[in-house]
């Protein structure tokens, strides 16, 4: 039996990243670990500082959206644990049900302002197209999650919304597999598939923000300049280079 010092192949620059044994260097686990830590080292994944231009209220709406999402998921889990009799009848259940609704309202409110801010910053500049696209897809999937939530209320409101929506959905052909009047199906979409999709997309979105950094402002124009370009790049830690 060979005993190997676990720290023998780790360096100060990449503690715990390299394979413990040289013969393990070709393992896919070692390769994935090295690639992941290489792309997103801990200091970049959870930085202590942001570039100076991030000191603006417009940058708080992304994290506000995530905070609201945490409340949405938490209250949704409580509703799932306790069940419809609780959220329809009990005063505590009604309160948690309301928290679920209003956190969704804040979620969309903050997300739309985040979207406007990033649109006018052209936040897809500097190889950030994937960040922008995952944000847009998250927004669209969230609309579906909210829609199926309204269909899961079990009241006249959900009955009205589903009967109004079925004609629109059926006209697209999607109604063949996505039946908005099928309560069980809509509930499963609302509490399993769509929340999972939103959480995964938000996770990818945040990792991409950490990977590419926050988009830089447009360069200030001076006399003789062309249109504002995006030839200014920055790292996630705020080093700005032209």
């Amino acid at each position: 039996m060979t005993v190997t010092d676990p720290s023998a192949h780790s360096t100060a620059a990449d503690p715990g990243v390299a394979a413990d044994r040289p013969e393990d260097a070709d393992q896919w686990t070692a390769k994935v670990r090295a690639a992941a830590v290489g792309a997103l080292p801990p200091q970049k994944l959870l930085p202590d500082r942001q570039p100076a231009y991030v000191a603006s209220w417009i940058y708080v709406f992304g994290v506000t959206t995530i905070s609201a999402l945490i409340v949405v998921i938490g209250t949704g889990m409580l509703l799932a644990i306790m069940g419809p009799n609780w959220w329809h009848v009990s005063s505590t259940g009604l309160f948690v049900n309301s928290l679920h609704l209003w956190s969704v309202e804040i979620f969309f409110f903050a997300m739309v302002i985040h979207l406007w801010g990033k649109f006018f910053m052209a936040a897809w500049r500097g190889r950030r197209a994937a960040t922008w696209i995952t944000g847009v897809v998250t927004f669209l999937v969230s609309v579906g999650a909210a829609f199926t939530g309204y269909l899961s209320q079990q009241n006249f409101d959900s009955q009205w919304i589903s009967t109004q929506a079925k004609d629109g959905i059926n006209s697209t052909g999607v109604g063949a597999i996505f039946n908005v009047t099928n309560f069980g199906q809509m509930l499963m979409w609302h509490i399993v598939l769509l929340p999972l999709a939103v959480v995964v997309l938000v996770g990818i979105h945040v990792l991409l923000v950490r990977l590419r950094g926050v988009v830089t402002p447009f360069r200030a124009r001076t006399v003789g300049d062309g249109p504002p370009g995006d030839d200014v790049t920055t790292t996630a830690t705020g080093e700005v280079t032209a």
């Binding site: 603006s56 209220w57 409110f109």
Partner: protein, 62 residues
């Protein structure tokens, strides 16, 4: 309970949400007052977020 009822009436909805919704009609555009107010609030908050200074410690800029 009277105290709770009083608090309820104080912090309750400013508009009676029990009746049919109120809508704005402008040509082919039809939108509920509720949705219009939320969109207006988002626009106001967006402008304030750009206009208001962000508090941060002096010498913090990188």
């Amino acid at each position: 309970m009277p105290v709770l009822a009083m608090i309820g009436s104080l912090v309750g909805a400013l508009v009676d949400l029990g009746g049919p919704g109120h809508y704005v009609h402008w040509g082919f555009i039809q939108i509920s007052w509720g949705n219009l107010i939320v969109i207006g609030l988002m626009a106001i908050v967006f402008i304030l977020a750009i206009a208001l200074p962000f508090p941060h410690r002096g010498g913090d800029d990188q």
